[in-house]
Structure formats: C-alpha cells, structure tokens
Symmetry: C2
Subunit: 242 residues, 2 copies
DNA sequence: CCCCATCTTAACTAACCGGTTATTTATTTC
DNA sequence: GAAATAAATAACCGGTTAGTTAAGATGGGG
C-alpha cells in the first residue's frame, strides 16, 4: 500500500505540508468558536471535498452545496477560490492527474530489467486504480463531456509527452536486449496496460452481476492482477523463432 | 457495417415491425392537426429519444423535458408508459443489453475454427462498441450508480449465463485442438476482450489529448483493431514447448 | 493603532427539473 | 351509440440548484 506513496492528500495539500510552517504557529485567539482564517486550508478542504463529491456522482450529479458542507466551508468560498463548478472540476482533474504521474515517477523503472519494469508498471497501474477509484470516475466523467476541461488545462499539457516516454524507454531496452519483439507501438501498449485494469475496476458493479462473481473479492483481485501481468508479458514477448 | 445487423432500432421497434401490421393501415382521419393515437409508436419514440438523451448526458445529466421534446411526445406520456426517469433508464439499459446479445448470437461462431471464432469475437466487440457508442455510456452510467438498475432487471437475469458460454465453448474447442493453452479462465478472457476495445473507445477524448493523436482517425482505428486481435491471439496461444 | 484588502458568512434569487393535476380527445366494447 | 377505457395535452407545483448580494470579521502593513 505504502509503495505507491498515496496518502490521499491533494497536490495542494502536499505542497502546503512541505513549504509552509509559516502561518504563526500559535494563533492568538484560538478562543471560543471564532473560526481562524486559513485560506490555504480552506482551499485545500474544498478541493478534497470536491474530489469526493465528484467521484461519488460525476460532474453533473455533484452538488455544490454538498461540497461546501463536506468541506465545512461556506458555499461562497467555492466561488471565491474556484470561480465556478466547472473550474472546480477542472482543478480536481488536474490535481488527480498530477497525482498519478507523481506516483508513477517514483517507481524508478530505469533501474530494473525491461521485463521487471513492465511487470512493475502493470502492477502499479492496477494498484493505483484500485486504491484511487475516484481517478477512474473523473476520467469517465471527463470523456462524457468530451474532454472539455482537460483540453483547456495548461498545467497538464507538459505532462503528456514525458508520460509516454516511460513505456517507450522500457520497450527500447527490451528490444535491444532481445527479450521483447520489435515493432511494438508504445501508445498501443500503454493503452492496453491501462485498459485491462481500468475496465475490470470501473465496471466492477455491472461486471459482478453479468459474470455472477464478486469481482472485488480479495482472491478475485489477485487473480485478475496475475492474469493482467501474464497478458502483457505475452503481448511483448519476443517470438522464439529467431 | 451491415454485418452486425444494427439498424439503430430498439428491440421494441424491431418487434413492432415484425409482428404488427395490425393497426388498420389507413387511419380514418389523417386530417388537420388532430394527432393520431398510436401507443406503440409513442412508446417507441420515447424509448429511442431516451436512448439518445441518456447517451448524451448520462442518467443525471439527461433532462426529461428534452426526452419528451425529442420524442415529440408530451412529458406526461413518459410517466404514463415508464413510471419514472429511473425506470425509463432501466428500460433503455435492458433494450441496449438485449441488442448486443442478439447481435452476438447472430455471429454463429460454432461454425468456425476456434482461432477464427476468437478473432471474430474480438472484431465483433470492437465494431459493436464503435457503432453503438451509447452502449458504453450506459455501462459507465450504470456503474457510477453501482448497477442499481441492472440489479433489479429480471429481463436480463437469464441472459448472463448464456453469454459467457460463448467464450467458454471457443476455449474448450481450442484446447481440445491443441491450439490454445489450457487453464484459461473464460471470464478473465471475456473481460480482457471487452476491455481492450472498451477503454480505447470510451476514453477517446482524453486519450486523444494525452497521447497526442486523433484516436478516432480511420487509420488509427484499424491499427487498434489489429493490435487487439494480436493481443488476444498471443494471450490464448498454446506454448510451443509441448 | 487603524486602514483596507482579503476572508467569511447568511440570506437571497432566478432558473430549472422531476413529477402531478385536471381535463380533453380518441378508440374500444357491448 | 352510449358507456368505459386508454391516450394525449397544457398548465402547474414544490423542491432543488448554481450562482449572487451585501455586509461583517480578520489581520497584515503603514
């Protein structure tokens, strides 16, 4: 669990922890019920609450009042810090995306053999989706809205190229070593690695009915992960003919 | 295209076409603006309109007024025939599910070699999702709601067992012939076949941004389909050791 | 110590939305 | 052909929702 380093904190919360023991340590009047001011904390609580609410019901189903209540903030604060419901959704999306990328970078795959690196990436993807199911909901929601928010996000634009390079490097090393077959497209492979975990987990409810098994039972989850590792191994394996 | 036999008609519409030249062919008073009565047609129009509206915006985002307008029916008719928005969604879901199963049955895979049958199933799955994108939206929407509607549907309960048998039979034949490796779980294989098409197509919008390519360009689609066929072939292939 | 930008709150509103009521009109039944 | 039934319509309702107003609280800078 700790391996993915996901603490449930938003990127904003992470930043705050690291950089800010600034706001004078002992608030003068911690007396009574008078709420202390802490803009960063308020903003952070709103973002975290929004994450949960958007995850629960999607962009359309989420209620701004619920977010405010959950964040223990006044609704006006949401509009003060995030301008609109859609902009708040965009912020959540960005934070979430940066979260998975940060976790991915911490894997240090370059130190592993190509096969181990690929296995590790498959296992990481599975684990991350399993432990952060809201990420799947956001991606679904965003696609329902034709990526309207993602398209406008400048913050993420620079992340994409770096991201596909991870898989490309593994493939290149594997082909050079002769353990992977040549000609594998990095994008197709990456999509496939995501797909086999994503589909199983995002469709956990209908899947459990259609296939008449509890897809989320512990044994079933382990079984699926091993199946996925095997699927990708076979996909990249060099043909024994040569 | 015609191969999947999908005409865009609902199951209800299909039934009506086949069984009902009953309602006397020439309506007596087609005069003026007086709206003719046609319960089946009205119900069918509502279902079709609901399909489009739910597909556009999901259960939460769909507007009952929009459905009524699109169906050229009075809103009250929706409640007359379908009781509630949620029941209407359930009806759409059932119709959609029966649609893909009907198309699947018409494939007649038992007449093919195991390898050809599996290829055909992969191609069918891809084509069906591509031509009926609303199906993907419904599954997503339903999972966001934890399969609340699907669970209650009696009409579909009997479909599920028959459905997994299709893949199981292909596997059994392939293993018997020695072309497939033994020990492949039919459910895992089926999930994987669905996953590699589903993920690519349902995440077409975010995917096109993240991977910086138009995933829906004609060449890209063909490329992906062939990649998927190859992925499944390698997954089931008997190991050359024996 | 006081000004003033920033943070925070409660109350408000205009539009929307799922569902209903009351009524009319067409079709079937006997 | 009258009574009964089913289909269709328009107008309406109560509750909800995203977003706003206006005013007060707070605290850092001068």
């Amino acid at each position: 669990m700790a391996t993915t380093e996901n603490t449930g904190d938003s990127a904003l919360a992470r930043r705050r922890k690291a950089e800010k023991p600034k706001s004078s340590s002992t608030p003068r009047s911690a007396s009574k019920l008078a709420r202390q001011r802490d803009p960063d904390a308020t903003k952070g609580r709103i973002l975290e609450a929004a994450k949960r609410e958007f995850s629960r019901a999607g962009l359309g189903g989420a209620r701004v009042d619920s977010i405010a209540a959950r964040a223990k903030a006044n609704k006006r604060m949401i509009y003060h810090y995030f301008n609109s419901k859609e902009d708040l959704f965009t912020a959540v999306l960005e934070d979430s995306y940066l979260g998975i990328r940060a976790a991915e970078r911490s894997l240090a795959l370059d130190g592993l053999t190509p096969q181990d690196a690929l296995d590790a990436l498959v296992r990481f993807t599975w684990r991350y989706y399993l432990e952060n199911p809201e990420f799947l909901t956001f991606v679904n929601s965003e696609n329902l809205h034709k990526a309207r928010h993602l398209r406008k996000s400048k913050a993420l634009a620079q992340e994409y190229p770096r991201f596909i390079e991870i898989v490309q490097r593994i493939i290149d090393r594997g082909v050079a070593d002769g353990v992977f077959r040549p000609g594998i497209d990095a994008v197709q492979l990456n999509i496939t690695i995501a797909a086999i975990s994503y589909y199983y987990l995002t469709n956990r409810y209908t899947g459990s009915i259609v296939y008449d098994r509890d897809l989320m039972a512990k044994d079933r989850l382990e079984e699926r992960l091993e199946f996925n590792v095997e699927t990708i191994r076979r996909l990249v394996r060099a043909d024994p003919s040569a």
